[in-house]
Symmetry: C2
Subunit: 208 residues, 2 copies
DNA sequence: CCTCGAATGTACTCTGCAGTACAAAGCTGA
DNA sequence: TCAGCTTTGTACTGCAGAGTACATTCGAGG
């Protein structure tokens, strides 16, 4: 951020720019998005961009930071209330749902990994930090699941969190490549079938 | 491919171009690679590129196709001989090894998913097909593992294949984002710990 | 040795986009 | 109402890189 806006109007403009860029980056990628597009979609010209941001790199950093925060904010309520195997299944079902209507599935932050330029170090750090916090929140949730005895025996919640996050990211990647969410569904189903303890009344999903 | 080379020299040139582009795309991404780089690294000017390929899109398609083939060729011997839980563990260990020295881990084909342009439909198809064949080969291998009773009880080899591939892709993605292969290791360890049947002498890796 | 098509190297054009300059308009407080 | 800012819009510059034209060299067959 080059210049902090000093008026409410300026702050609103910055926010519109960030939102527009967030949306465009998530949908069509960073490199494919031009500053003209950001300017016109946010209803401002390109002039403002250079008033508030030092350049594209700077904008990218700000957007990545905001995108990470958005995602974590959206995840927090889901993960904070997660404490049973059924909750984990519900999270997985929700994850499929997020991408059910996408023609090309993209994780709002996962898809950015290979789009950052060589010199976007700040954005890289923000992204890596975001993944770390996401995994940590998942681990907290899975620890509660384990404490109720609903995680597969002997499975470390930290490992399981990494496994679940990777299953989601990998599933979304494959879904985006094939244009079909089946890979995501299968990857999450495999996690559910193997990492969660057998349930009483409910089949645990193996071989379904 | 615009013009098929009619001499051995021409074919050699095409191959050099493809190899150079393959390497550059895998290391620095498609959009970050210029045709100048491809030309100079392959020891030919940019002139030849337009003699043999209609343009960058066409080159990308050819490279993706070759890259997919390379990967499948490299995987085939590993997967064909896979029939025990120990073989699966060995494959996972090898997968970690491939990226042990990378500063930014990248799957040679997974990293391309978000780099194809809007109009690289042929390349998209080749990529999706590659993932399908990879998953299928993994499923064949895991079916043999199941037939020996070394897959977790009731786990469908097809599902497990999707789960393993997603764990690898997601693990590599996270490793690339954080600059540390730990996420890949944990993701694969979770798969090993949950999807493989308990082994006699060997600890199965849970909570390690 | 000559010829002709294939292969190679170079120099140019054209376009898209990042970045810059600056003029105009809008607030806000005195 | 005026002064001095912040904000906004537009027009220009510069450059990187895709694509093209064309001159030169190579090499196999007569």
């Amino acid at each position: 951020m080059r210049t902090e806006p000093s008026t409410a109007k300026g702050r609103a403009t910055v926010q519109r720019v960030l939102d527009a860029a967030c949306d465009l980056f998530a949908r069509q990628g960073i490199r494919a998005t031009t500053l003209d597009q950001v300017g016109s979609r946010s209803g401002t010209g390109r002039g403002q961009l250079y008033l508030y941001f030092a350049g594209k790199s700077d904008l990218v950093t700000a957007v990545v930071t905001q995108q990470v925060q958005h995602l974590l904010d959206a995840q927090q309520p889901l993960l904070e209330s997660m404490s049973t195997a059924a909750d984990v299944r519900a999270w997985c079902a929700a994850a499929e749902q997020w991408h059910a209507t996408d023609d090309r599935a993209r994780c709002p932050i996962g898809s950015l990994v290979h789009e950052l330029g060589e010199h976007d170090d700040a954005a890289r750090t923000a992204l890596a930090d975001g993944f770390g916090r996401w995994r940590s929140a998942l681990a907290d949730a899975l620890r509660r699941v384990r404490d109720r005895g609903e995680l597969a025996a002997g499975l470390d919640p930290e490992h399981a969190a990494a496994g679940l996050l990777a299953a989601y990211q990998g599933g979304v990647l494959l879904a985006g490549a094939t244009g079909d969410i089946a890979p995501l569904r299968l990857a999450l189903a495999t996690f559910e079938a193997t990492a969660l303890a057998e349930q009483d009344g409910r089949p645990d999903g193996r071989s379904r």
